[in-house]
Symmetry: none
Subunit: 234 residues, 4 copies
DNA sequence: CATGAATGAGCTTTCATTCAT
DNA sequence: GATGAATGAAAGCTCATTCAT
């Protein structure tokens, strides 16, 4: 009774984690490459096992299904990103909002630059939430990202750095979207969509600075007088 | 004979356009629904022909393949949107940048509200450009959108409405992303992802106004004094 | 809307029935053989298509799934049996219960003798109702059989041929079981389980007569006196 | 070494029997449940070991294969049933045929009522002999059952209780089938196929009595006069 | 111009069993 | 004696596309 349906359904990984590092990493890398190249829907387990040199049966001893593998890959990416967290981000209360934001974006792009495939997969995934079976997972990544932004915004408002009238939820969403957009811009415009690490330019700080400037002041000319409706007078 | 081999190579549509309106529209609607429900990768031609009540062979006389159908659907959506273009957008030189931007966003959401499935498909698609065979197509949609934003930005700078130091290309990208984000926010947050027209709230102007405000002034606290409505006083 | 999910799900057969007779019959025969040899659970569609010389994809254009094929096979068997219905069974009111019963059993075995594989499949199937997805189907076959027996029993009672105190439902069940048992006895004991038509003996009337006798009078010695409890006195 | 290769060939059980009682019983229970739920063909060793919490390799040290396990389960059920044998059945020569038969059926149903899963498995299995690899086993269970009935019949004839003209072999088969049918009737009609012990009604004696009556006298109307209770008057 | 049967490669997943530790 | 990772054949089923009529 208690024995029924135990470690059979919650499968997420288990045996996979005990694999020799080399083999485990190989499988992850192959899978990541597959997801990056074909997207989740078109990723083929056949190809993955072939490229990783493992038996198809073995795959299913590591992961419950394709979604499970994918989830694991995302988790690994999330965790790897933690290694990039810098002193600035570790003490968020000691810096102003825009410094923190700049650091956040910088760290995101730095990770992506050093791990283009992982970065790309992580990016694609948050962007595309239209995979039914994984919607919840994606939503949770999005939500936690937005919540983090909202906490930063709150702090910024409290310190008088930010306009207190902004809609926290709305702006939180937009910051997440703009972070993704920064990746998109860097990846597609600067690097022309290449996943080859060699093609990734070194200097993404200009992009980030433009982004911060954009978020900080918007695009309006600064010197103009404003009428009471907030619409520019001539 | 020659006509036949013609049909066969330049396939994009041709025979399809001569169909009775009702049949053609049915096929389009079914396809749109399919793409909305399953995404491009998982959309099934089998299901489409079954749901549209046409023969499998007929489908391939209308379209070269799934991508061709998809391209057609997108083109139809693009064209339908034109019907929403308002006087304001038809004479862009007579309005200031933020008015135009507001109108652009408003029109986009109005179309989506009245055609949720089409709106969703059009949105998802621009967002997800990771479908290899359609990348070029998506890119062209993006590019033309961005170019349009850039032309607006240029005009705004020329008039002194906008900060002349912005990077046109960068900001153009961001505006496109933010437009998509406005849809995303409206669709996922306000309407909780439902495609049912009945669930779609009526009032998206607050979202647009927040967006315009965000783009205009950013989030930084203004040194000017603010009245209680958050509108700048002189 | 109406077009959705039409002839896509109710699949039972459709295209299959339009096949050239020869091909259709071949597939049916191969399938019947497969079911007879391996049972439903172990029957392999791979083997069936290989033995029938058709493509796997074709199979699924004929049948929705294995259960659908099976259902069709059973329906064919049911229908074929109708050809065996004799004048006696066509005018049931004109014969006494035991004559009808004898004829029913005779016809059942005659069909099975001439179509051993079909007979065996039909028999196995009613017997084994533990295939989840087909339980309803089997139950309906059983139920209609039992209902028919019950109607015969009622008529027999009305005519004074049968003990009016019997439990109709119970006896109906038992008659069905005994008919299956007659097949079982004939098939396994007399023919030693061979499906080869050549091994099937000619004369199953002795079995039927014993069965009728058993059902008619039971096994009790007929001459004994009975005490009031119906238990034999010494 | 030699001991090891011994274990390996005569596999049926051996190492399994030395297991701590609790573990052994758990495995048996899990297996029984699996067979009851999925039938033999669809029973999964994967699921069994998972649900029993044992290693896959261990399973194959206990049993040669699925059939071996199954055989063991059947043997256990057979043995458990022995505990239900009553004084009446222990001294068969001291009771008349119908008393013995009634007791046999009663004991069978009593066991099934107290051990629904085991009862169901034992029943299903004897009923379905179309599992190639186990046919011999099933046949032997059937044969020994039939032989026992035949011995009872012989004794009954010798005592003048039974019609001396019956075909022993035939009637023996039918009695076995009717015993299974009584289970079938009780299980499917009375308990509606539920394996939940709580759903099993208490009173199966009416069924048995109808069965005895059926076997004793058949269904033909008696020429003797009947009192209103349906019990024969002298 | 319409049809829809035919195709076989491909899909994800489960299987019973082996064997090195 | 116990383990559980490894295996690859096989399962049922869907796919986009072709082509003869």
């Amino acid at each position: 009774m208690t024995a029924r349906s135990h470690n059979y359904t919650l499968m997420p990984k288990n045996t996979f984690l005990n694999l020799p590092d080399e083999k485990r990493t190989l499988i992850e890398d192959v899978a990541m490459q597959e997801f990056a190249e074909f997207g989740f829907a078109n990723a083929s387990i056949n190809r993955i096992v072939a490229n990783a040199g493992i038996a198809k049966g073995s795959f299913y001893q590591y992961f419950a299904n394709k979604g499970d593998l994918f989830q694991h890959i995302l988790a690994r990416i999330s965790q790897e990103k933690l290694a990039y967290v810098t002193p600035v981000l570790q003490s968020p209360t000691q810096h102003d909002f825009f410094t923190l934001l700049q650091e956040l974006f910088r760290v995101g792009l730095a990770y992506a630059k050093n791990n283009p495939i992982a970065g790309y997969v992580g990016f694609e995934i948050i962007k595309n939430q239209n995979i039914d079976e994984l919607q919840e997972l994606f939503q949770s990544y999005r939500t936690s990202g937005i919540e983090f932004y909202k906490s930063l915004l709150l702090q910024g408002i409290a310190r008088g750095e930010l306009d207190p009238d902004i809609d926290l939820d709305f702006v939180g969403h937009m910051l997440l979207e703009l972070q993704l957009a920064s990746f998109n811009y860097y990846f597609n415009v600067i690097n022309h969509g290449s996943l080859d690490p060699e093609d990734w330019g070194d200097d993404f700080m200009p992009i980030i600075n433009k982004m911060i400037q954009f978020i900080k002041n918007g695009v309006q000319a600064q010197t103009e007088t404003l009428n009471s409706t907030g619409v520019l007078s001539q």
